[in-house]
């Protein structure tokens, strides 16, 4: 089963993270699924290889979750990485996706933390709604990915890997 995101949910997510970006004065905000795939981002990401960033963030989170279990915690829902110039604040949402805020000295950890709490509530509701839709629609084929899509994908694969 795939994690499917439809237009309305996507724009609702974007609105929330854009608001978070503005409220915190952060550099950028990214939303990543737990498999390490970037869902969306906002802010200045021109200096970042977002594909690698998403994969490593998910791995970072997965490893830290296991550390939590080793010390008897169910999970560490929040991670904070402090650098000389830039910092990362990473928050688990609905046990399904990972919110990452990249920020520097133009804002403060306290402000980021407070604003992320608001955004987390909103994103929680959106993600849970998406999961419900996926569950209720699980017997149906994925829209748009019909037999023609699969055939064309196979042709592309033949071409790319020949």
């Amino acid at each position: 089963m795939s994690f499917q995101i439809f237009e309305n949910d996507f724009w609702a997510i974007n609105e929330t993270i854009t608001k978070l970006l503005k409220m915190t004065n952060a550099i950028s905000v990214l939303l990543i699924d737990k498999a390490g795939q970037l869902i969306t981002s906002t802010g200045n990401i021109s200096q970042i290889d977002t594909t690698s960033f998403a994969s490593l963030s998910a791995a970072d989170f997965a490893a830290t979750s296991q550390l939590a279990k080793l010390v008897g915690e169910n999970n560490f829902n929040t991670l904070f990485h402090q650098g000389e110039n830039q910092n990362l604040y990473i928050q688990l949402i609905a046990n399904k996706v990972i919110l990452v805020v990249i920020f520097d000295s133009r804002t403060s950890l306290g402000l980021v933390r407070v604003r992320i709490k608001h955004a987390t509530d909103e994103l929680n509701a959106i993600i849970l709604d998406i999961m419900e839709k996926i569950d209720s629609n699980k017997d149906n084929n994925v829209i748009g990915l019909d037999i023609d899509f699969k055939k064309q994908a196979e042709n592309e694969l033949d071409e790319l890997f020949k």
Partner: protein
């Protein structure tokens, strides 16, 4: 679990290379990276030890291009093969969409292949995944070495379910793309 984003028109799928240590998983990924055209690939990331053994994973994003309006990409991962890195292996398997099991054909590694395959099935079971829900192909690597098991022997022990299997010499690239193409097609067919 593949990600299908209808708003940004993107599809991402996760393929994991699994198998015993020093079997050739990273070699597969590095060969793919070296041969694929620059516009179809992202950066290769290796979280390795100082001795170049995989510590956590290798990661290579491959772009398939635009298919019926969807930017489609595969994320290739390897797991660390060494027995004591099971916690990391299990993490990488999470949300997997397709698996390549890279077996080492050398006679002395026969048992290691069996142990690794068993370990993979156990780890999958913890995520409620089994061979009927996720596509798996096998690759019998190092076919150029002198002291190797026959393909029949490997098939008999490692592949009772008759999954697709390929012979390879990953260091020379033989069989690498055939394997990747096979698992990619199965993953696409399995999208739902």
């Amino acid at each position: 679990m593949s990600l299908i984003n209808y708003a940004s028109r993107e599809i991402s799928c996760k393929i994991v290379y699994y198998g015993p240590g020093l079997g050739g998983k990273t070699t597969n990924i590095k060969y793919i990276y070296s041969k694929i055209s620059p516009n179809a690939k992202g950066n290769l990331i290796s979280l390795a030890t100082e001795l170049d053994r995989t510590l956590f994973f290798d990661f290579l994003p491959v772009n398939l291009g635009n298919i019926r309006g969807f930017k489609t990409r595969f994320h290739l991962y390897t797991v660390p093969g060494q027995v004591y890195y099971n916690a990391s292996r299990k993490l990488i398997l999470k949300s997997v969409d397709g698996i390549v099991f890279v077996a080492d054909s050398q006679v002395e590694r026969f048992e290691d292949n069996i142990d690794s395959l068993q370990n993979m099935l156990e780890n999958l079971q913890e995520y409620n995944i089994n061979l009927s829900t996720v596509p798996v192909v096998l690759q019998y690597n190092k076919r150029d070495l002198p002291n190797i098991s026959t393909v029949d022997e490997l098939e008999r022990v490692l592949n009772p379910p008759k999954l697709p299997s390929f012979e390879s010499v990953a260091v020379q690239g033989i069989g690498v793309f055939e394997t990747l193409k096979a698992i990619s097609k199965l993953v696409i067919r399995n999208l739902s």
